[in-house]
């Protein structure tokens, strides 16, 4: 019955603000990647100076994939939600069994020369699965903890798998994305209280099982100047780069901290200090503004969604972008501990870029198929 609708109406609803915000971030990201890796020109690692071109390729591939995903009515996605989820979990298991060790963490699947990171895509699979569950489980009464047990298990399985890799960052993101979705549901007050108390007990226990490097990062965050040449090095130099930017920045490709190679991982986990140093407070505000817009816009899309699945999907995809941005910027600015979490569309990496573009595409999908006659925004 929706064939006709797909052909006509959604096109009229093409979400330009969403598209433009994502496109602007992507363009800034590529420009920043060029500057970040320009330090390798003329060195033995000159190949790294060209990865911004790869990033453009990834954006193109992600864009095409996104267009396909946006074109398919998300209700088809809903129908295959658990299949998608199962495929995601399966790929994580494949990683756990087969994957080769990349910098201390087995996160990748290699197919020929092509390697991809299932844990990135898993975040979206997870959102889809939880959305599907909540979609099928409408309640008029407040929910209890028991009501949320199944979605919690849906989250716990992949989270456990990625934390085992070990990829604590992705595990945190998954948990927090789920948190954002749960925040959307009506919970019984006593259940919330029980949850908070049990967390207060569980977290110290989890701390005992954290890996040494994970613990070291957190203690280093709490005492940032203790070890500037070791574990605190990243955080320190990132902070110096941001501060060095001042109001207007030092100009494109002129950031001293980056040009003199004090910023490690400047093209993967720490692209923001490069940007902040070159474009200053003004540039940082523009970038944060774009992320904030994208995230808030996703809430607006959720609020105007046609159905429960769409609403949860939009909130989940928005939450993925939101938590990535907040964690990455927060660790660069020294308000959160250093965990390997990418900055959406800024960090170099095919899996990361594609995942973010797919999230945007899902948002676009929900947005294009909103109910124009029954806008919930008016009730906000």
């Amino acid at each position: 019955m929706m064939r006709g609708g797909l052909a006509g109406r959604p096109r009229d609803h093409f979400d330009w603000p969403l598209f433009i915000a994502a496109a602007l971030i992507a363009v800034l990201g590529v420009v920043n990647l060029y500057s970040a890796t320009s330090v390798y020109l003329g060195t033995s690692r000159a190949a790294l100076a060209e990865i911004y071109i790869n990033q453009v390729y990834w954006l193109a591939i992600g864009g095409v994939a996104g267009a396909v995903v946006a074109a398919i009515d998300y209700r088809h996605i809903e129908r295959f939600a658990y299949v998608i989820y199962t495929l995601g979990v399966f790929s994580l298991i494949v990683v756990a069994v087969l994957a080769r060790d990349v910098r201390g963490a087995a996160r990748w699947i290699n197919i020929g020369s092509f390697s991809f990171q299932p844990s990135e895509f898993m975040k979206l699979c997870l959102v889809i699965a939880v959305a599907k569950y909540l979609h099928d489980d409408p309640r008029s009464e407040p929910r209890t903890l028991k009501d949320m047990a199944i979605p919690a298990v849906l989250v716990a399985v992949p989270t456990a798998l990625v934390v085992r890799q070990p990829d604590l960052g992705t595990g945190i993101i998954m948990t927090l994305v789920f948190g954002a979705i749960v925040a959307l549901t009506r919970m019984r007050r006593s259940s919330v209280l029980i949850f908070v108390v049990s967390m207060a007990v569980i977290l110290p226990v989890a701390w005992q099982y954290a890996l040494p490097y994970q613990r070291a990062r957190l203690t280093s965050f709490l005492n940032p100047t203790a070890d500037l040449t070791g574990i605190g090095y990243h955080a320190h130099h990132a902070r110096v780069a941001i501060g060095n930017g001042g109001l207007l920045g030092q100009g494109f490709t002129q950031g001293m901290q980056n040009q003199y190679r004090f910023l490690p991982d400047q093209y993967s986990d720490f692209p923001f200090p490069v940007f902040a140093e070159e474009w200053g407070f003004v540039g940082s505000m523009v970038l944060i503004g774009l992320y904030a817009f994208l995230v808030l816009w996703s809430v607006r899309i959720a609020a105007r969604a046609r159905d429960r699945f769409g609403a949860v999907l939009a909130v989940g995809c928005g939450a993925v972008i939101f938590w990535h941005a907040i964690f990455n910027l927060g660790m660069a600015a020294g308000v959160l501990p250093v965990v390997g979490i990418t900055l959406p569309l800024f960090s170099y990496g095919g899996s990361s870029v594609t995942t973010v573009l797919l999230a945007v595409a899902l948002l676009m999908n929900v947005s294009m198929r909103r109910n124009a006659t029954f806008s919930p925004v008016e009730r906000l």
């Binding site: 019955m1 979609h135 409408p138 309640r139 008029s140 954002a180 925040a183 959307l184 549901t185 009506r186 130099h237 902070r239 110096v240 780069a241 941001i242 501060g243 060095n244 930017g245 001042g246 109001l247 001293m256 901290q257 040009q259 003199y260 190679r261 004090f262 902040a276 200053g280 407070f281 940082s284 505000m285 944060i288 992320y291 904030a292 995230v295 808030l296 809430v299 959720a302 609020a303 969604a305 046609r306 159905d307 429960r308 609403a311 949860v312 909130v315 939101f322 907040i326 910027l329 927060g330 600015a333 020294g334 308000v335 109910n371 029954f374 919930p376 009730r379 906000l380």
Partner: protein
Amino acid sequence: MSVLQQRPDVSEFRRRFKWLALFQLLCFGVLVGRLFQLQLVQAEDYQAIARENIVRRVTLATTRGIIRDRFGKPLAASRPAYNLYVTPKRVTQVDKEGQPPVMTPVWAKLVAYLNLGDEEVGRLEQKLVAIVAEGGKRKDQQILLKEDISFDDVAVLSTHAHELPGIDVVDVSVRFYPQKSVGAHALGYMREVDPEMLAEMRRQGYVEGDHVGASGIERSWESYLRGTRGWEKVIVDARGARRPMRPGIIDGPSRVDPIPGRDLRLSLDADVQAAIERAMRGELAGGAALVDVESGQILGLVSKPGYDPNQLSGGSGKGVVRDAFQRMFSDQLKPALDKTVSGAYPPGSTWKPFTALAALEKGLIDKNVRTVCRGFLTFGKRVFKCTQAHGSCDLHRAIAASCNVYFYQLVATYGVTMDMIAEVGGRYGFGRRTGIGINAEASGRMPTKAWMTLRNKGQFRQGYTVNAAIGQGATTVTVLQLALAYAALANGGTLYQPQIVQAVETAGGDVVQEFQPRVRRKTNLDPKFRTLVHQALLSGVTEIGGTAYQTWRQLGVDVAGKTGTAQVSHKATGSADLERVYYFNRDHAWFAGYAPTTKPEVAVVVLIEHGGGGSKHAAPVALNIVRAWEDLKRKRAGERPRPLEVTP
């Protein structure tokens, strides 16, 4: 429509969207606040840190002053040397995970270019692999592979530098003594500062790896010679690589030039030094000094056995230094000891002129007093020996032929006392340091009656004075003391402070400070007595029966002087090493004198440790020195002496 039917389901979420949005906005707000703090409030602090990150203060080396002889010939200079460094990580590679690292082709090339021996290569490879396997910071740091590589090697390595990443040739400055062991004790040598020294010297700007003067002039004049380091601020990246200068990064001065050390011009004459060394060629151990009688300037000062300060100063590597030290301090002949300044010996018969002066000045004798020598004198219960039976001797013959009995009689019969001898000795500078200012100077010993009494548990025997009259017993002198005292006899009674550094000059050749001769004291030498002593010293060399006559007959130099044979306290002969005992039981041989005889210019003193008789062993050396000095003087009279060009 089915869509409309689904709407009420969304109502569960509806009221929560705005809280979600608010929370997200709040998070972004915190970030904005943090960036406001970092980029606006604290911007200046972080900009300062960023600038500091890339600025390094690089020390600029200074050059140590050059030490030259009186005619400008360099005795100690600094030469460039090249040390080979290698960064272990860059010449090794890990082929297989978990396997120990192996050497790269770069290393093979280096080995080929330098023609390193298999054994050495094996040892170095083992060391480098161990450093890499250890995994610490050292694998990324330059490791000293070889010190002081040859110019040929430097040329080869710099030609192929592009093929040899991780291999660096670093130029350093090494102290260089062109005269090698000649005059080594006076010049001294350099040593690397050790941690204990550093604790005190850091305030003066010394750092690890610095070399300081360890002895001789190098040590005493260290503060003049060393110069002052400079520094320069440069821009480096996180890996320490140099980058071009950027404006606005460095506040204040960016460079302070190093100040080169002061050059020293010595009173020493390199040719005289070489001549002394040549004259002493046949002797194992001893010292010799040639002093200008009219100024106290030291023209030559040589101690044997010597050592090569080049080896000790580190130019050829730490191993060579260690070996050289080992040799130096295990040698029984004590090469480290400066026997001209730091060693005190009984003067033997060279002392006789001073005993004679004591008797003459007190009016106890005149030149006509005669004694009869039967080869010994019994005094108290002891028999004091003479070298031979001299028969009837007056003062002249007693000095010239070195009759001990005459001097015994001065004490036994004519009433010369210990304190009289000590008083004259004191006037001629004995028992006190001369003040040359280099090395640990021995003061020698000029015993008085009170001192001898104290030393012998309250008992004083006249026999001590009898011994002291012929320069035996407790009396000890240094070669330099004796030379200056003879210089005073030669010049009519002026005792000079010895002088070895004439002037301090800048690296450009300007004189900063010139040192004038300093008179230590007048010895109140009566011209009459001087003539008496002079004639006796002259006869001791030039007349039949004089102790140095045999030598003089062969060499024919214009010199007056006195031989001496100082007995040493005997070692037990029961020792296993008979040869060694025989050597160490031999007497010290002395010669002290001055030349020319008509108008003396230089005083010469030679001590041959355990050389045996003074006339046989010390006199030939001394006369050869004077002969060489005469030759040099004649040669220089023909052509005006001019400073030689010094190549830096």
